[in-house]
Amino acid sequence: MAIGRAHAISLLGLEGAVVEIEADISNNLPAFVLIGLPDAALGEARDRVRSAAGNSGLPLPSRKLTVNLSPAALPKHGSGFDLGIAMAALAADGQVSTESVARVVHLGELGLDGRLRPLAGILPAVLAAVRAGFGTVVVPAGNADEAALVPGVRVVPVVSLRDAAIWHGAELEPIPLEALMPAVPMAALDDSGDLADVIGNPDAVEAMQVAAAGGHHVYLLGPPGAGKTMLAARLPGLLPDLTAEEALEVASIRSLAGIPVRGGLSTRPPLEAPHHTASAAAIVGGGSGVIRPGAAARAAHGVLFLDEAPEFAPAALDALRQPLESGVIAISRATATARPEFAPAALDALRQPLESGVIAISRATATARFPARFQLVLAANPCPCGNSGTRDGDCRCTAMAVRRYLGRLSGPLLDRVDIRMDVHRITAGQLRASAELPRLSTVAARERILVARATAAERLRATPWRVNAHVAGSWLRSPVGAGSWLRSPVGAPARGATAALDRALERGGITMRGYDRVLRLAWTLCDLDGTSRPGADHIGRALYLRKAAR
């Protein structure tokens, strides 16, 4: 008897590897042997495949069936290989065309009745299949919409194993069955709102626009009810639409997280707001068996909002530092056994993503990488009771308690946050006055931000960066970089523009990293103003944005 071959995709993070499934039927007592590092869920494919095949009118022979998943050393997880295993076995038995089965990628979990169940992570899996050079993928009918989002691939949706076998040339009558569809998620509450809803706090409103224009991280400090959450929720609305590539990446991460992608690609940046009890693994990703993306990866190309930031476990925050800088999360692992991801503390988990913009979760044999180029918005109360520094509130926190509370946000983390802004409760007078004052709407603000972003992108054309916040400090200060404009003796207006900044550095008021960040902020302010280079005014405002909160 011939050997049947089929292909499936093993996902590790967002990257997929093609797995070749070989099936051999030998003349021996009936058995189903599955080799090639399957995990528990994949090992159970044996029983699902045999039952599904029998109930689809394509019984597997009463012989020894050996299925090998190669590369043998790659750990394989989950139930998405069921369809591939079934097709390889049927091809080995001669029930379907061997050539036809070997040419396409099969994805899908089988039910015992032979119907195909939709899978999580179809989008990244189909992308991986296309990158590996496959032109056709067979997917469960419930995943057809999601798979079709990938350009340049022929998607064959099938309801059941029988349909798939007929597509591959089995001479059977189709039996119409009801397709299994993914559970419809609860409609996400769209509470992003309009910027015009924000009353008072003009500095903070401006700061959010600067953040959106330059891609800067933001730290909002203020008493409860001051509008920190309201401001943070409006940031995604200020960001420009995602590019097609970014939208596909965002949708892929959602798909991997088990959120079905429906109604086409969303081009709006995502907002993730994890609760402050989140663990480091919930923030950066992880989990036993399949490595799942955390909140930081789901916020890629969008906004990660950490409300009540000092309440987060320190390890979770500091784990974000590297992704913040590099824009990628990488998770590596040795085995599929469950183990604690990190030390229990969670604020420190944020440090790494902040630095690199990538989260890399490493165990011995494999590394999962997730994009993590997000904008971080931290919000904190000024003290445990929240009333410190307010005019109307009565704060009874001791000075020590206040220091300890804010000290939970580590220096290395805050050093990566460009904008620090105080947010105040509005007074009755401000509320009355707000009726007459014109307020900027999200649409108008976004226009202004798009222009500023275009200016920055034009200036950074020859560099790997697109927004000011990502520019390396050395380039800012180098003779060929943007900094050369500030220091050039011919540029009269810019001459001495950095004097205030240099003084702050000399006094030790800011670090060298802080110096670079002020320069970046000044460039963003300059782009928003439409001027060609930052002046002393921009540097001064940048210093204010960086230093405002205590």
Binding site: N27, N28, L29, P30, S62, R63
Partner: protein
């Protein structure tokens, strides 16, 4: 004789006839020892062949080969050892399985698997 034993005996006769037609020679039939019974012992060239015969009247309750479990195979191996002890100089041995699907009033279907362990 109970119906199931009658079916088993009929299956063993059919299997024996099938194997003899393949050119094997019979050494023992239903050889017994304290550990149990071997359905058929035959010689195929220089090999001694121990055969487990499994008979069903239909596959409604599974294929007969599926009923040959790892425990049954292990027992058959011990029995083969016992047979060799009783018949010194047996030479190389192998264990085969024969499935007989023998529906009432219809010709039986015989499947023969060599070297099943």
């Amino acid at each position: 004789m109970a119906a199931k034993d009658e079916l088993g005996a009929r299956g063993e006769r059919l299997a024996e006839r099938h194997l003899l037609r393949q050119g094997l020679t019979l050494l023992d039939r239903n050889w017994r020892c304290p550990q149990g019974e071997i359905d058929l012992v035959l010689r195929d060239g220089d090999e001694v062949v121990f055969v487990e015969v499994k008979t069903r009247s239909s596959v409604a309750f599974g294929h007969p080969l599926e009923a040959i479990t790892a425990a049954k195979l292990a027992r058959l191996r011990r029995l083969a050892g016992a047979w060799c002890e009783a018949h010194p100089g047996a030479g190389r041995i192998r264990i085969d399985a024969v499935a007989v699907i023998a529906p009432r009033d219809l010709p039986a279907v015989i499947e023969h698997l060599e070297r099943v362990f």
